[in-house]
Amino acid sequence: MNEIIESVKNLSIGFNSQKGKQISILRNVSTNIKKGETVGIVGESGSGKSTLALAMMGYIKQGLFPLKGECLFKSEDLLKMSSRELEKIRGRKIAMIPQNAGQALTPNLKIGYQIDEALKLHTDLNKTERDKKISELLNKVRLPSPETMAFRYPHELSGGQQQRVAVAMALAGKPDLLLLDEPTTGLDVTTQAHVLELLRFIAKDTGTSMIYVSHDLGAIAQVSDRIVVMYAGEIVLEGPARKILKEPIHPYTYGLLKSIPKLSLAGLPTSMPGSQPQPGSINEGCSFYDRCNLANDNCKKNSPDLEHIKELDTNVRCFNYKELINQNNNLQTSITKKSNNTEVNEVLKLKDVSISYAKQKFFDQLLNKISDQNPTVKDINIDIKKGETIALVGESGSGKSTILKSIAGLLKTKDGQIKFDNDRILSSDLKMRNPNDLRAIQLIFQNPDESLNPNHTVEQILSQPLKLYFNLSGEKLKKNIIDLLKKVRLGEFYMSRYPRQLSGGEKQRVAVARAFAAKPDIILCDEVTSALDVSVQAAVLNLLQQLKEDLGTTYVFVSHDLAVVRAISDRVAVLYQGRLCEIGPSQNVYKFPSHPYTEVLLGAVLEPDPDIKPKLVAEDIVEEKPPEKGCSFQGRCPRKIGDICNSEVPPWQIGENGNAIRCHINIEELASLQK
């Protein structure tokens, strides 16, 4: 167990800036990987975690080069090897499981060929043995019908299946060390839990060492024996997984853990101020100085070394870590939300809304109707009260964003009505809505990189809605923009900046400010935090909550992340295949009894706690189309009771907590089943 497989020594990797300065992305990193051990490398985007992981395979991305240090694999330096020598090690001794298997599998080659290629390179098996091995491997990663799977092309598989193929390919060469670069990011919650479970099984079964790189402490917590926390290209904390997650003694890790929304915890997570410094911007002192609440003058001038604390078996890079040793009990706290959901009048009603993506046939186009018997979204009834935050939650394909687009008027409804403001019917066609209705409903998108015009300054971006809806100009316009920036905690000097000069969190703040510029009644939030780092996500969530409390706005919040939804919403609607499964006050939806699908989702959530294991109760394969009749969840339901589920749409049942569940099983029976 103590045999060291790979050891990184004082590794620095960097690039030459345009001004000819050497800028390092990775600074003086040293760590050891032992045999049979799984090491989690965690950090936010730009922390250098992927660069480190790739360097451990002797791979340096184009434009970067090693400045000093070495990567020793079985006491040979990978960074000094020729490409010929590296080919012998990659795939055979160290194998990689990439982040996005959909893009990492060559599109024109069949699955079987791609696995066979690895086998041919790294084993001495003959053709028939290899064929046998391929189906063995596909079987091992639990892919359905491994015999025919080999003849498929990557695009014919679902995201989870592609990831499994990548795992099979990595195992083909029987490597001593597996490198996993965000292997579950981008997958659905249930798929993610299944893939992680598979990886854990493989680690145990083959005794392979693993390096697991992720930004997601929840996933890291499930697989790692040891955790390395990276910040701004340095290791700031390293130690046994349980210790790091339960008693983090570095202020960054502590703050990071506190900024993750947790299922078990109502209320908003605490955010960290600021964001990670850009490479090359740190001249002296601790790289975490700006954001640290333990910082003093010493931290500003001197940068701390990685210090080994023997009794905790931990390395930490902080002068003041002792202050954190005994105060970790308050990791489980959160900010309570003030609910201003006192008004009972409904501001928006969705009545029997159905939406279809089916292409209109010629005659239907003439008659301007949509004849789709099995539409993507069907029978949605939701009444949204003024001042509440209602969340639509579900996996990809659940129709949550589709509903949002229809409310915004970007997508025509097939049937049903959207009523706004005293039961006035809103046209489903954007062009037919009056300007005041357009102003009243605003949208914030997932990715601020794409929703902000890169050629406009922040001032131009924010002045557009102000000019359009309120005809402001001159001094008044400027004053309003400054006010808006102040509301989203950005200074006046941001006015002249372009989106590319802002960090991800700042960009999303500008997008929030733009939505609020219209003084809207309802803001539709489409996965607004999923492109952001955890610590930034917490800050944006807090900002949204604050603005709502101050201005009384109503949010319709779409997300796949149940913990985020738990943190921000007052009410939750759970969707599967475009049909409502459950709706109710959020504290009750997260309690049992709940709809079997909610149960599956809640079970799959990964918490940053090694003691809370996900419960896998259903298969992770989603049907391509919603079933024509019966319950939408019939195909995957772990509690299916029989034919009635396939033939009849389940009735709504209202539990004593006030959450409505659409299931054939009696609600009391569900409660006793789910105990």
Binding site: E87, A104, T106, P107, N108, L121, Y153
Partner: protein
């Protein structure tokens, strides 16, 4: 799949039908008709009547169109005015000559372009790339009538290695042609090759930066194997359509080059028949050039469909 091919062919035929209509209507609405343009100052009285009767211009336009169109569909373009001989006989050798010129250019140009594109992409920003890229960008910017003239000046006049203009009859044999077409081929393929090489280069560079190529490297696939199995099939696929467009665009280049070199091909016939106001021949040429254009694009589309597994399975599922 078969249905799709038939659908594409059908669309191509519709395009051709529209082209034939436009050319016919275009000729029709021009002031004067075939007889007045042909007879010029003698276009009056009995001579004109006789001509109109002979060419059948006295029947209504739509009838003439259907007559003409159905003949064309059978491969008969009617009679040329100037030579008073069947257009098919005029066209035949010219088509052959141009085809030889174009196909030799393509056969040399495309493989050369692909090789150059790959070399420049794999040695990106290194010496081979810088040298080849400079030359390709340079030759892309010179129009072929200038490069053709320069070629004549340097190779034919100063060095005297090759004949400057082509002096062969239009019914020359294949071997006669080959020895005469070196300079025209160079002039035509220069721009085309340069365009395609740039295109292949950027396509290969893009694929080299993809996740799956990084994955192949990290899987331990040797460099050249990776290039041939993982990079090229994916990089050349989008190039097929560009190649088709380039070939179609080459038709225009052929016209200019043929005139400069006095080469007896379709291009020169276009210029000749326009200046002779030989309207039936112009009509016939328009149809032929349009068919080549449609045909090449059709082949390119079908090839992409066959070679791209993603599109193929999409079609089958439908």
């Amino acid at each position: 799949m078969l249905l799709l091919i038939l659908k594409r062919i059908g669309l191509g035929l519709i395009t051709l039908f529209i082209v034939s209509l436009i050319t016919f209507v275009g000729v029709e609405v021009l002031p004067g008709d075939a007889c007045t343009t042909y007879l010029e100052r003698e276009a009056y009285g009995a001579a004109l009547d006789a001509c109109i009767k002979r060419l059948g211009l006295d029947v209504p336009a739509y009838e003439r169109y259907f007559d003409w169109a159905s003949n064309v569909a059978r491969g008969d373009f009617g009679y040329s005015l100037s030579g008073e001989m069947p257009i098919n006989e005029v066209l035949g050798p010219r088509v052959k000559n141009s085809l030889v010129l174009a196909s030799v250019s393509i056969l040399i140009g495309i493989p050369l372009a692909i090789v150059l594109g790959i070399i420049t992409a794999l040695w990106r920003d290194k010496l081979p790339d810088i040298m080849i890229s400079t030359i390709t960008i340079f030759s892309m910017t010179i129009p072929e009538f200038i490069s053709a003239t320069l070629l004549i000046l340097i190779v034919a006049i100063w060095l005297g290695w090759l004949p400057g203009i082509v002096i062969i009859p239009s019914d020359a044999t294949f071997y006669q042609l080959l020895s005469n077409i070196i300079l025209p081929v160079v002039a035509i393929s220069m721009i085309m090759t340069a365009h395609m090489a740039r295109m292949v280069r950027s396509s290969v560079i893009q694929v080299m930066a993809s996740d799956y190529v990084q994955m192949a490297i990290l899987k331990g696939v040797p460099y050249w194997k990776m290039v041939f199995r993982h990079v090229l099939p994916n990089a050349l696929l989008p190039a097929i359509n560009v190649v088709a467009l380039t070939i179609a665009w080459l038709l225009g280049g052929v016209v200019v080059t043929e005139v400069v070199f006095n080469y007896p091909g379709l291009g020169r016939l276009v210029i000749e028949s326009i200046s002779n106001r030989d309207l039936p021949v112009v009509q016939a040429l328009a149809i032929i050039l349009a068919s080549i254009y449609v045909g090449i694009n059709l082949i390119a589309d079908l090839m992409t469909l066959m070679l791209n597994p993603r599109l193929k399975s999409l079609q089958i599922r439908k």
